[in-house]
């Protein structure tokens, strides 16, 4: 197993008390696998992966549990050693390409900087590699693009530059945090192609965070659905889409408009809104919004079972 996360808990000390953003998340990732992480805003999908990257810098954050990457424990690893992994073996692509690049340096310079932080190469060798990378992410004119500043590129181009940067050291694990949310649909398709190609050529494992079920169904091998800081269902793509078990997953899938057949007059929506992490309901966090909740849901918290396809729901487990 390349990445193995066990019982990860992330809490933040705030004025109103301790907020548990991630509550016991566990998952595994094999080499070359694409894992889709789905959930609403605030469900903890970004925070859990930021924890994996060691990028939670808030001094009020408490991270517990275990994150093992290739048999190395990342929780509590000295900053120096973590830095050697970050950008080198584990890379991350962020949501908003408009703000993800430093505005005052050229694209080429910023990518070369990462290469030179990890590999012993000369500046010109690094720049040659940058040119290759930019060609790989389909820049029409990579040599010219290298001397461009971020503000001179379109959103899609910037995201390609960010991806080229993430790929610069051939990472074994790539974390993509909603990389297509800020982009047009056509550009989005290009980026998804790129992620697929990348897995094919570099055999990188990818964690793809998104709230777009359509993207997941196209890209992911396995899917993990998160709600209020917990994993509520996980399974292979086919299992999850053909046989969704958790009421939340079903509701999510139900809110995608069908491509064929009669369109519903109104798209079904999940009633209510996600709970505040400060005041989670007793029992199942999804309980108050759940159409099928019954007595046990109000008292106990359902736990995700073992097995490849599992759902944290008393109805399913009963």
């Amino acid at each position: 197993m390349m990445l193995s996360v066990r019982d990860l808990r992330v809490s933040f000390r705030t004025q109103e008390g301790l907020v548990r953003a991630i509550d016991g998340v566990s998952f595994d990732l094999r080499e070359g696998e694409i894992l889709g992480v789905v959930g609403e805003s605030g469900s903890g999908k970004t925070v859990s992966l930021l924890a994996v990257m060691g990028l939670i810098t808030d001094p009020n954050a408490i991270i517990e549990g275990s994150i093992r990457y290739r048999e190395r424990e990342l929780v509590g690893l000295p900053a120096r050693e973590l830095r050697r992994l970050r950008g080198n073996e584990i890379a991350m692509i962020f949501q908003d390409p408009m703000t993800a690049l430093t505005p005052v340096y050229t694209i080429g310079g910023q990518i070369a900087e990462q290469i030179r932080a990890h590999k012993r190469v000369s500046k010109s060798q690094a720049l040659e590699r940058v040119e290759e990378l930019l060609a790989e992410v389909n820049f029409p004119n990579p040599r010219e693009a290298m001397s461009r500043y971020p503000h001179q590129l379109s959103g899609g181009m910037r995201q390609r530059a960010v991806i080229a940067m993430a790929l610069s050291c051939n990472p074994a694990l790539l974390v993509a945090d909603e990389p297509t949310t800020a982009l047009d649909v056509t550009v989005q398709a290009g980026i998804l192609d790129l992620v697929r190609k990348l897995r094919a050529t570099h055999n990188s494992a990818v964690v793809f965070i998104t709230h777009d079920m359509g993207v997941v169904s196209e890209l992911a091998d396995r899917v993990m659905v998160m709600y209020a800081g917990r994993v509520v269902e996980r399974g292979s793509r086919t299992e999850l889409f053909s046989d969704p078990q958790h009421p939340y997953t079903r509701a999510l899938l139900g809110s995608i408009p069908p491509l064929t057949g009669e369109k519903p007059r109104r798209l079904p929506a999940i009633p209510g809104s996600p709970p505040s992490l400060l005041r989670l309901p007793d029992g199942c966090a999804f309980g108050p919004r759940c159409p099928v909740n019954y007595e046990p849901c109000r008292t106990g918290k359902p736990v995700l079972g073992d097995g490849t396809h599992a759902a944290a729901c008393f109805r399913v487990q009963a």
């Binding site: 990257m53 990028l55 970050r86 950008g87 703000t99 430093t102 505005p103 050229t106 503000h151």
Partner: protein, 323 residues
């Protein structure tokens, strides 16, 4: 980039022209006042008054008067002070420029270097006792008025402790020309430099610290961390560079104002015959030609300093280059 610089230079000339017209109009075209009488000074004889009137072209149209004035200041340089009996104004201004420039330039080097160091160290050690100590010292520096601090400095270095090993090198008050005596120039200015710089070190250190801490919240800092860069490199290359923009803006304004005469208090305290002192004396004796010349000079410096700031912007921030 060249085009942006040239265009900024053109703007600068235009602004200077505008300022010269406005300053001229304020002094010479204010309704109900007779500029000739003010130039000639109190109790001037009718002959002198007539000579002034003719000399400055007050019997001719306004634009001729403006032209004559500019000619006297910038071309022939023979603008004469009547209040001070034939004192040539332009050489007096030119003589005081090196004094003020020496004072302000040296202080500026000191405050820029020290405040950058303080800003970086405070931001890097944010909320620690080092940060708190530096910011408290900065506040202290800002709170001390420069005339008071200058007098205290003089009290310590010129009288009370002058005979100790620590301050025996401090020369008596006054300015020494750099070309005559470089060492004397330096020694005479050390204490004034420190005195003038302390206020600005406080302000700039605090401003830079705040700007760096703000930049450290940006998304691109998270990207830089994800790249695996060291915290030092992130701070110095990614956060500092973008934070310097606010710093440079402030610097342009303060430097221009100081060179244009705002260093008056420091000049008076340390007996330096600079441009601030000159303007102050001219205002005291209502010496209109002198006021005219120093105001023109001061405004030009503010304009030039701002243009330099804009050039530095172009270097610092690529986004400014194209627009």
């Amino acid at each position: 980039m060249i085009y942006a610089i040239l265009r900024r230079f053109g703007q600068m000339l235009f602004v200077m022209f505008g300022i010269s017209v406005i300053v001229f109009l304020i002094f010479f075209a204010t309704p109900g006042s007779d500029p000739a009488a003010r130039i000639a000074g109190r109790n001037a004889s009718p002959e002198v008054l007539e000579a002034v009137r003719h000399n400055f072209g007050f019997d001719r149209p306004l634009y001729v008067q403006y032209g004559l004035m500019m000619k006297k200041i910038f071309v022939t340089g023979d603008l004469t002070s009547f209040v001070n009996r034939g004192w040539k104004v332009v050489p007096a201004v030119l003589d005081s420029i090196p004094v003020t420039l020496s004072l302000v330039f040296g202080a500026a080097v000191l405050w820029v270097v020290v405040s950058i160091v303080i800003g970086i160290v405070a931001a890097a050690t944010r909320d620690s006792w080092v940060d708190k100590l530096l910011m408290a010292l900065g506040l202290l520096g800002i709170s001390m008025p420069v005339y008071w601090l200058g007098e205290v400095m003089n009290l310590i270095t010129q009288s009370r402790y002058h005979d100790t090993w620590l301050f025996s090198w401090v020369p008596p008050l006054g300015y020494k020309s750099f070309s005559d005596d470089p060492k004397g120039w330096f020694l005479a200015l050390v204490i004034p430099w420190v005195t003038l710089a302390i206020l600005y070190i406080g302000i700039y250190g605090r401003v830079l610290r705040a700007a760096i801490i703000e930049s450290m919240q940006e998304d691109y800092i998270r990207t830089a961390r994800a790249k695996g860069l060291s915290e030092t490199r992130i701070l110095l290359r990614h956060a500092l560079r973008t934070s310097l923009i606010a710093f440079v803006t402030l610097f342009g304004l303060d430097f221009g104002a100081l060179v244009g005469g705002s260093a008056l208090l420091t000049e008076v305290v340390f007996g330096l015959q600079g441009i601030g002192k000159l303007t102050y004396d001219a205002l005291q004796s209502l010496d209109l030609p002198m006021i005219m010349a120093t105001v023109m000079y001061a405004s030009m410096f503010v304009v030039v300093a701002n243009a330099i700031v804009d050039f530095v912007y172009i270097l610092l921030d690529p986004r400014v280059r194209t627009s």
